[in-house]
Every structure is written in C-alpha cells, then in structure tokens.
C-alpha cells in the first residue's frame, strides 16, 4: 500500500481538509454539551446505556441480573470440561495453595503466601500463557498512593468511592486507600525504579478523577517495571509456575469447599488434577471478549475465564453491567488498533474532527460521553474508515505546537511521538486517528477485605474480583489493586491453609450446572471458559480441526 507520511492517499485527502480548516477550528471551539444532550448521546451510543448490549442472565446465583451479552453467552454456555474425561483418583499436583493466573495479582499473592509460611514447593502458580503475560505488564500511567503531606488516604478513599459512582464496597475502597503507602514502600525494597525528584521524593501527577496529585510512575512503563521486579523476586525464590496450563474448571470436595482445579496443558492436551487446600483466583480481565464489539487494550489471554469457573461453583458476581471504554484508542495504523493514546493530547489542545475536518464535540467531555460522541460520528458515516475496516475520527495533534510553541509535542508526549514515529507518522505534523477502546472489567467475583469469596477456600484478587472499584475504576487504581489485594489474598489464604482439611474431590457441580441450563431451557451453542480468543479468518476456521 502506497502511503505518504504514513497515511494512504484517501486518508491524506481528508487530512488536507483538516489542515485547511485548522485555523477556523481553533478560533471557534465547540461548547460543552448540556446534561440533556449528554444523556441523549449516552443512551444511543455508549454500550453501558444502549439497548441490545446486555440481557438478563437466566441461570445460577445471579439469575435475573443484567450483564453484557458476551458475558451472559459464556455463563449460559456448557462447561468446557466433561467430568467423564478426568480421573479424580489420580492427583497430578498436591499443594497447599493453588494460584490461578501468573500476572500481577497472582505473583504478589505467591510472594506473600510464602512470607506467611506456606513452603514454596507447596505453592503452585498455573497460568495460561507465560509467567507475566498479563494486563499488569501493559499498564503505562502509574499507581496511586496518598503519601504527600497535602494528600491523605481519606482523600484517596473519597476519590475511589466518588469515581465508582458510590457503588464500591466501602471496606474494599478503604483497603485500597490505606494499604497503598505500604505497597509503594514494598516496591522500594524490591528495587522498583520510580520516577523521582532529585531529593528522592516521587514525581506525582494527577489522573482523571483524583483531587490530589498522587500518580507514581516509572516512565510510561509503570506496569512493566512493577511486574519485572515482582516476577524476578518470584523467580529468585523458585516459586513453581506451570506455564501454558490454563485452568479449565475448579474442583470442589464433598464438604462444599474449594479443593483445587483441573488444568489443561495447551501443548500436550493433557488434563492435570491439582488438589489444593486453598485457591486464589487471579485470572485478570476480559477485554478479549470484545464486549459490544469493541477493540481492546487487553492482552491475548484476557477472556474472563475466572468469572465463568467461579460462577460454575456458585460464587456471585458484581458490577458486570458496566465496562470501561476509553475514547482515544488508536484506530490507525492497524498494528496500534485498540492501544491507548493518552487523554493529555486533548488536554494540550488537540480537537477531535470528522472526515470533513469539522469539529463535532467539546474535546474534554467525561470519557463515556466523549466516547459516545465519537461513535455517533462514525455511525453517521462521518468517520474515516481505515484500509482494514476500522472506523475512527481525527485528533488534530498538530494544534498542540501551534498553541504551546514548536517542540511541545516532542517534550510533553515523548512516548506517544515514539509510538507513531515507528509507522512513519509525525503527530506534530499530522493528526492521529482514534476510536474508543475496551479497557477494563470494572466488576467481577465478589470479595471481602480478606479477599474471600462466597465459597470456602476460594480467594480472588485483581481484575477478576468485584467490588473494589464499583461501576467505574479510576486511573492508577488497577496497578494498586493487584498489589493490595494480591498481597491480602496471599496472607489470608496462608492462614486458611493451616486449618483446611480437604475431603473427597468432585466435579459434581458441573453436572448440576448442566442440569440448571437444561431447566432454564437454554441450549448452549458454545462451551466456556473459552481460554483463547478466536482470531482466525472465517475461511481458515472452516478448514481447521477443533483441537479443544
């Protein structure tokens, strides 16, 4: 494909219109919307409010609640594991603590369980991909902790609770705020290289919805730097990890306690029966379900498996009627689709424009409203469609240097500039194309302050859990979440292990679940958890053998 400065000709034609109208667009800004028109566009174009994105769940403990279609589809699917295929009398791994998921929450849990007295050879982390392949690794922005004199954990609490539209479980929001300084201190001991001033104090920035500057960062690789340190510590301790062995289903015992799980080796297609006195669910989010058909910022394995397995054994779920979408995901070039472009581009003065170069929205509406306006513009045919079929609107980034002086983009948005430069696009010279992207699973399996779920022996931490963020998470609170609740789960699971006695293993809950589906007159077309997303082209699928 022939491109000029990174864009094909037909897109360049649209950029010419953007350039011609730039002066006019800068002098005549679009005004903020009224509450009424906000509500109107949200109801039509934001997936949380739109009709058709959600439906009532017909089976299980949360029967009657409204959840996203993609989640209901999986909850109403047939359990992927047929109990007849597994011999429970043959135990492959017999451990004290099983940790499902090798991302941030799971690895932190392992470290604190070890410190709390569980021997390392009695801990087992099982993970779908490699140890560390997780959304934790991809977080860029930073981690919140109220440690400056002008800040306080009480203010952090207020931000968390208000940001979550007052729907969070208060005791979980308290843990998040109060444990935060201790977590940053633990990171200092591990050797995390935080951005600091010369006197050693942290460089702390603001984030959407925070009333104090409390965002700690490690350049724009914050999650990667945390994960690298945490994983290095786990490797030094030789905590056992089974890679490419996702959990297919959880195991119960005849006393109604959680008793481990059945893992599936993706490479040999063997099942492993894992008996454990306690189990921590740390499977992460579900961006790869592409709820409401959104592209996503999430990693390859984020398919919501933990939600499904936990639901099969009777654990309840919270707040899965909301998803976090971010207005400025990248829409072009193709390799960047779904990846985030920071809100600060708009903060510095860049205006969103349609294919005719015309403005259509106040640039800094709340994220949900801004997203809905972008979607509306594209649905009305005024967006730009990329060569791979992705719609988007322009974000006129060259305005930044015109407003603040040449070189501003380069210094204030260095990471973004580097990202686009790789594909021949100079964002100081040409606009970038954006479209909302699916970012975070706000809710999940309900936990309490000790990360206990409804089921004895099952703990949960990180993105798979529900209640911490209510119906909306603030930036910088997810890295904090996996540390705070990963740590708590390790400590409390270690305590639980000391008293736990496991009875006879069973997969009866799956037969029961199948019966429930039958009684609800559901005829499942697919099975769940799905383990990996399906990205093969239709033609390829029809000739592929179904290996799972």
């Amino acid at each position: 494909m022939k491109t000029t400065d990174g864009y094909p000709d037909y897109m360049m034609k649209s950029i010419k219109l953007v350039e011609e109208k730039r002066e006019k667009n800068m002098s005549k800004p679009v005004k903020p919307m009224s509450m009424k028109s906000r509500e109107d566009v949200l109801s039509k174009y934001h997936p949380d409010y739109m009709k058709g994105t959600k439906r009532e769940l017909k089976v299980g403990i949360d029967k009657g609640t409204n959840l996203y279609n993609g989640i209901v589809d999986l909850l109403e699917a047939k359990p992927v594991l047929d109990p007849k295929d597994v011999d429970l009398s043959k135990i492959d791994y017999d451990v004290d603590l099983l940790i499902i998921g090798g991302g941030g929450a799971g690895t932190v849990a392992a470290l604190f369980a070890y410190e709390s007295g569980v021997p390392k050879d009695k801990i087992l982390i099982v993970t779908k991909l490699r140890h560390g392949d997780a959304n934790s690794m991809m977080a860029q922005g930073g981690i919140q902790a109220a440690d400056r004199p002008e800040d306080s954990p009480a203010l952090h609490y207020l931000d968390i609770y208000g940001g979550g539209h007052f729907t969070n479980k208060p005791e979980l929001a308290r843990s998040l705020a109060l444990d935060a300084p201790g977590i940053i201190s633990w990171h200092e001991e591990l050797g995390v290289m935080y951005d600091r001033h010369e006197d050693g104090e942290f460089q702390e920035l603001s984030g959407g919805g925070t009333c104090r500057n409390r965002m700690h960062s490690c350049k724009d690789y914050s999650g990667m730097e945390l994960m690298r340190n945490i994983r290095d510590k786990a490797r030094n301790l030789e905590i056992p990890v089974l890679e490419f062995c996702p959990m297919a289903e959880l195991l119960m015992d005849d006393k109604g306690q959680l008793a481990g799980g059945v893992a599936f080796n993706l490479e040999t297609f063997e099942y492993y029966v894992i008996r454990a006195k306690a189990t921590i669910l740390a499977t992460g989010g579900s961006g790869r379900l592409h709820l409401a058909n959104y592209p996503t910022t999430n990693h390859y394995g984020a398919t919501g498996d933990g939600l499904i397995m936990a639901y099969h054994i009777g654990a309840n779920l919270l707040d899965l009627d909301t998803i976090q979408i971010h207005p400025t995901g990248d829409a072009y070039p193709e390799p960047l689709v779904g990846i985030l472009s920071t809100e600060k581009i708009r903060g510095l003065g860049a205006i969103p424009l349609n294919k005719n170069g015309d403005p259509f929205v106040f640039p800094l509406e709340p994220r949900d409203v801004e997203s809905a306006m972008f979607i509306q513009e594209c649905k009305q045919g005024k967006g730009i469609v990329t060569p791979t079929g992705m719609p988007g609107v322009w974000l006129d980034s060259p305005m930044i240097d015109i407003i603040h002086g040449e070189g501003t983009t380069e210094t204030k948005l260095a990471g973004e500039v580097r990202k686009f430069k790789r594909f021949g696009i100079d964002m100081a010279k040409h606009p970038i194309l954006v479209y909302p992207t699916l970012h975070y699973q706000n809710g999940g399996v309900e936990i309490n302050e000790k990360t206990e779920t409804k089921i004895p022996g099952l703990f949960a931490a990180g993105e798979v859990s529900g209640g911490v963020h209510g119906k909306n998470r603030l930036m910088g609170n997810s890295l904090l979440d996996f540390n705070v609740f990963g740590r708590r789960s390790g400590i409390y699971a270690a305590k639980y292990v000391k008293k736990a006695k496991i009875g006879k293993l069973t997969l009866n809950h799956l037969d029961k679940y199948n019966k429930m589906l039958e009684q609800a007159k559901i005829k499942p077309a697919k099975s769940a958890p799905i383990i990996l997303p399906e990205y093969r082209g239709e033609m390829a699928i029809s000739r592929a053998l179904d290996i799972f």
């Binding site: 860029q140 440690d147 009480a154 609770y161 208000g162 200092e188 290289m193």
Partner: protein
C-alpha cells in the same frame, strides 16, 4: 447475540476479508518456509492468524510490552536478517518468518536483600559480561532500539545506575542473548542492575516513610470510618465540593 455479532472486530470475516484484499492487495509471506497469501498492511501476528494459525506460544500482550512475539525475518534475496515483534511489525512481500517464543538463558538466582551495589556486584553474578567483544550485534537485534552493548559495557565498568537507565525500556524478549557470540544474557544482567539501582542507589522518599508510620499508628482509621458511615447524600456533597489540587505539568498517564 447472533454469531455474526460475535465476530470480533479484529477478526476479518469473509466479506470484510475480501474487501480488505481488494483495497490493500495481497502479498506473499513464508511462515517457516511455507507460502501464504495475506492482505498487505497486517502485522506479522495478524497475517499469521489470517492465514489460519492460532497462537498458543509467541503471542502475549499484542501491544509491544511483553516480548512474547520476537520474530526473525529475511526478505527474499536480501542479505540482512531483521528482528522485530510480530505484533508491531507489518508484513512485507516475500518475507521469510520464524518466531522465537522462548530463549534458553538461565537467570542467576540471588537474594537482592543480601547484595551490595558495588562496582563488582554485577560482574560477580554474571562474570560472562567480561567476555563482551563489542561487536554490537545485541544492539542491532533489539526490537526496542536499546543501546544494549552500551549498557553491558557500563555493567562491566560497574556503573550500575547508568546500566539501569539505558536498559530501562527492555521488554525482555531475549533476542540479544540469542545473537551474542559471547553468550551473555543481557536482559537478565540489566534486570539485576535496575533492581540494585531502585533498591540501593536512588534516594528514598521521606514523605512515604512518614505517611507509612501514620498509617501504621492508625491515624486515618477514624476519618475513613466516618466517610464509610456517611449517608449517600452527604458523601456525594462532600465529593462534589472537594478541592482539586492544581495540576503539575508533565505527562499524565492513561
């Protein structure tokens, strides 16, 4: 939801795939020598998926952060080997591809709490760095364009802080270690340097230490307890009217 609706945005369905082919044209790539026609403009990762491959290994974050999808390639009739990430590199015509999803490179185990950040610490743990022949092959094979050889040289000289700084953007894909004629495991070396710097060299925050003591002495417990007990209307007012601190200039996160 119908099956049609479940078709993922990223996944080309038949009609869309045909449109894409028409618009972008197809090119030929060789996956470990085997020829496939794929639409131009796709990343190596998506081109393989288009061709019918389903990833188990060699695919992680799909956004350039995790280093799972290191790929080595050579364009037909060209001399030079290319190194990149399958999720970031766009396919080119007549590209011969092989992915390297795993690198055998033993990490030395250490207890960071028992180390001291001296000039010889890194050399003692990874003595093979002294064998560096300054060929710069590691730098040339880095998909992140990190000056790998330079940070190894710094490590040899015991300059921990500098080694940590230069290597900071490392995604630990391991291509450097696979190409090194001296068998250095660069990405493990720099991991040690960064932890030594973060733990021992960077000045610690006094504010944090002070706040930690306050939290431990339960200074904020009653204040938060009060907020938790407040009725919804009251806390909503408090939230709405809270004073927002003026923003610092500098990059804001996501």
């Amino acid at each position: 939801m119908t099956k049609k609706e479940q078709v993922l945005l990223e996944k080309p369905d038949v009609k869309k795939a045909e449109d894409v082919e028409k618009k972008a044209g197809t090119i030929e790539v060789f996956v470990m020598g085997k020829s496939y026609k794929v639409p131009a403009g796709l990343t190596i990762m998506k081109a393989l998926e288009y061709a019918g491959y389903r990833y188990i290994r060699g695919c992680g974050c799909r956004a350039g952060f995790c280093g799972a999808c290191s790929t080595i390639y050579r364009i037909e009739d060209e001399q030079k080997l290319g190194f990149d990430l399958a999720c970031q590199k766009v396919v080119e015509d007549k590209m011969y591809l092989v992915q390297l999803p795993f690198v055998p490179a033993t990490k030395v185990e250490y207890d960071i709490d028992k180390l001291e950040p001296t000039e010889s610490t890194i050399l003692e743990i990874y003595p093979e760095i002294a064998r560096c022949v300054s060929c710069n092959t590691c730098t040339k094979s880095c998909p992140q364009d990190i000056e790998v050889m330079k940070y190894i040289q710094r490590a040899v000289r015991g300059e921990i802080a500098k080694c940590a700084e230069i290597s900071f953007d490392c995604i630990q894909c391991g291509l450097c270690a696979m190409r090194c004629p001296a068998d250095i495991k660069h990405y493990h070396v720099s991991q040690l340097a960064r932890r030594l710097r973060g733990k021992y060299i960077d000045t610690k925050s006094k504010n944090l230490a002070k706040r930690l003591k306050e939290v431990e002495s339960r200074k904020y417990d009653s204040e938060i307890e009060k907020l938790m007990k407040m009725d919804k209307k009251e806390i909503m007012e408090l939230y709405k009217n809270r004073k927002i601190e003026v923003e610092e200039t500098g990059p804001r996160g996501d």
